[in-house]
Assembly symmetry: C3
Homo-oligomer: 347 residues x 3
């Protein structure tokens, strides 16, 4: 696509195009990072990053820049195509989308798919090879079900939702519109509920269900359990990375993001816009307020107020944790100082 065509498209978008220069109007083939981009590739630079040097050395044919005089001048000097935007990362995402139209399998139901009686399938659906769909399911318009997916009975798959290969959806789950469930994820499996008795663990029947609201994504091999009673609910627009565990009865607000290997124990509640970095753990029945950000490996055992930025184990405000863990490294000296002081003081 010509850079001038891209500019026309970005003008329609919401990334805040401010200024641009078509230069030799290069024919852009794909996106690339600054350091390896070639003349037929496009890159982007973000606010506050140390990309000035990289831009200088880059062979990229076009760049998307933040609104920054220095970077703009550098691009002018190089004589390459450039645009300045309020949100160059968003513009780059939209550019990649234009350069790489999403592959969608052709509509239709593969003859090897096994669909039990009483399944309602709307128009424009793709159901791949070796898929199994249990009785009473409802597959809505435009859904894409890749090979090997297993759907237990009485599940609803929403409009234009996509289920990647070999994922499994358990009974009664409700998947909203435009959700993506990645490969090998498991939705709606039995919660881990057992009652201790003198004869061993007695299974608490898990009679509830899992609801994914619209625009939710669930990463590869992530697992979301259904509860004994009631529901596990993932709020609209929440994005979940790979290998994440969501326990029975958890409820999340809208627009949360959870990085890989996060674990959320049964009954916990997350507000809207919560961001959990990799390997974070949230304890049973803990309440995490709106817009909380927890850094990686954080262990959240007690309720957290809205807006907090937390770190460490047990979780504490990030600033405190930075000070505490800096002092942790000094513990041997601290210990020695105390010995010396004791000798001096109590001699």
């Amino acid at each position: 696509m010509l850079f001038s065509e891209l500019i026309a498209a970005l003008r329609e978008g919401n990334a805040g195009l401010q200024d641009h220069q078509v230069a030799n109007d290069p024919n852009i083939q794909e996106g690339a990072s600054l350091e390896i981009a070639d003349w037929n590739q496009i890159s982007f630079v973000e606010h506050g990053s140390n990309f000035a040097k990289e831009l200088e050395k880059s062979k990229a044919g076009a760049v998307l820049l933040p609104i920054n005089e220095d970077l703009r001048n550098q691009a002018i000097q190089k004589g390459i195509a450039w645009a300045t935007l309020k949100d160059p990362r968003l513009a780059f995402a939209q550019t990649l989308g234009l350069l790489n139209p999403i592959f969608k399998p052709q509509k239709g139901i593969h003859p090897t798919a096994v669909i039990e009686e009483g399944v309602k399938i709307e128009t424009g659906v793709f159901i791949g090879p070796h898929v199994s769909i249990g009785s009473g399911c409802h597959i809505k318009e435009g859904a894409i079900i890749h090979p090997g997916v297993v759907i237990y009975p009485n599940v609803v798959i929403g409009y234009q939702s996509e289920l990647h290969a070999n994922c499994v959806i358990h009974p009664n789950s409700k998947i909203g519109k435009k959700c993506v469930v990645h490969s090998n994820a498991v939705i709606g499996s039995e919660g881990f509920g057992f009652v201790p008795t003198k004869d061993g663990w007695y299974k608490m029947p898990q009679t509830g269900l899992v609801i994914l609201e619209d625009n939710v994504e669930v990463g590869c091999s992530s697992t979301i359990d259904r509860p004994a009673v009631g529901e596990t609910r993932i709020g609209e627009g929440t994005k979940i990375d790979n290998l994440v565990q969501i326990g029975h009865g958890v409820k999340t607000g809208k627009g949360c993001a959870m990085a890989a290997q996060v674990g959320i124990a049964g009954g916990a509640r997350l507000g809207n816009g919560v961001i959990l970095a990799g390997q974070v753990g949230v304890g049973n029945r803990v309440n995490v307020g709106d817009n909380v950000i927890a850094s990686s490996k954080c262990g959240i055992h007690a309720d957290i107020k809205s807006g907090e930025i937390i770190s460490g184990f047990p979780a504490m405000p990030n600033r405190q944790w930075l000070r505490c863990s800096a002092n942790f490294k000094k513990l041997p000296e601290i210990s020695k100082s105390i010995k010396d002081l004791n000798r001096e003081t109590f001699r």
Copy 2:
């Protein structure tokens, strides 16, 4: 089911029914938590919980109570159906079981299942669509094998065991009676054993096997590896949550419970009744005694005596860890105090 019918059933059970009042004998449809239960739903209250207020506000038609005078009086005052029991949680589990008979697929072998030669299949078995079973396997009476399951050669699946969709069982594994292997779990895969050589990692052949004793459950996407020689063994009645890793040659006692994302390294031994909370790690060849409880994210690098309650990383007695981590938060003040003391003492 009428509340009076439920009482008759609980009287036969082992939850220790003490007293009850049928009131208007409501027709109970399902279980629900106190705060959302309606007139045709049943809830339960546990010892020591702050449920008195919730009970007051609840619209539940019936409640299962601990043996507690106040709660009992409150229920009487509300005029609802109630029962007092030694173990109301167990009674609730049994009630859910009565209200929600477990769905079992119809017996039979789906025509799309691929079963190699020399497989012995007993009566009353369900084998779903797109299942693959390797030669020499033995599927015992009443086993349920959901769609997409792959069983490698020479595996034994015990009486009434259930394998959920898309799980994989590797060669020579032995699954006991009434086990449940949840979706996408992998049993009996090769242990992670490599010998360092100057030409890189040389694979140690993993010629052992995995044994699940009776009544074991393995969660979704959990992995249990076989060892180079000998066996990996999960003791009777042990329950394993989702995304748990059990390394090659691990042995666990009976009745253990492991929450999600626990990792147990090769050759470790757990006694009976060990409970590991979420994201706990157990090191290579470590011995964990009977009835040890490890709290979440605990890192167990050295042997632990029976009966210990441990926390932290590296693991220490829980009480000590609580004190130490409380003081960790004071490290900046501690550091400052020492500076002041040094100034004062050594001036």
Copy 3:
């Protein structure tokens, strides 16, 4: 196999056979650990291990020993077959390989496999039941594809590589020679990239690909994501255990090893020969130098120089961490000492 035959084989190998005694030339059936081995089994003993006592009690018919006079004499005294070697563990691995020839399924394509148009399949390939292969793929000579595997379009599977049951390979991935992808692993799925906007998370298209170089292994249920642009690359001979997450754009050197539940965030770089123990986390864009060893649960937030041995969270040199965490356990006393000193000093 007779012990004398084994010796002939080990003489050809690279485990450094030094001396041996055939004794009664036992017919070795299999490998076993010293404490349970019987007369027709073979065990091994390593340098520096406390195996002298175990060897004394062992009923093993044959042992592979390090070059150690005491152990050798003990074996002579027991009258069993023995060999001394520079690397007895490597010799044991080779012995297990000889005693247990690897099971390989018969070549051929199962009739239930669904192979789209334009797939190139070389000779000597096994493709099992219910496999799906998308258009444009290239399956090279000797590849083994177990039941239930799903391969998206335009993937290359290298010479003699093995894909275990129900794993999933996403578009454009390139799997090198003699790689092993274990059950339920996912290669080449979309990286977790979203741009925050006022209307929620906007998906960054993930147009890159994943490359596994030759001799790479990826454990069960591990996930390796493709990036927005460019590649995620796993270096030759790198071994990855179960439930490991490799984020988009990560690059590892050759011969790395990652234990179970390791997580590596997007854009991180590992040098050659890096070893990460269980549950280690590596942060976004962090650079880890050659031959770094990180102990379990380590959290790596900043670049690490080649050759370092690191521990803890945040990561620090292992020796420092041992001292600091020993002092962490003394924090309550330290705190009390400071109170006493303050009282004494500032009274």
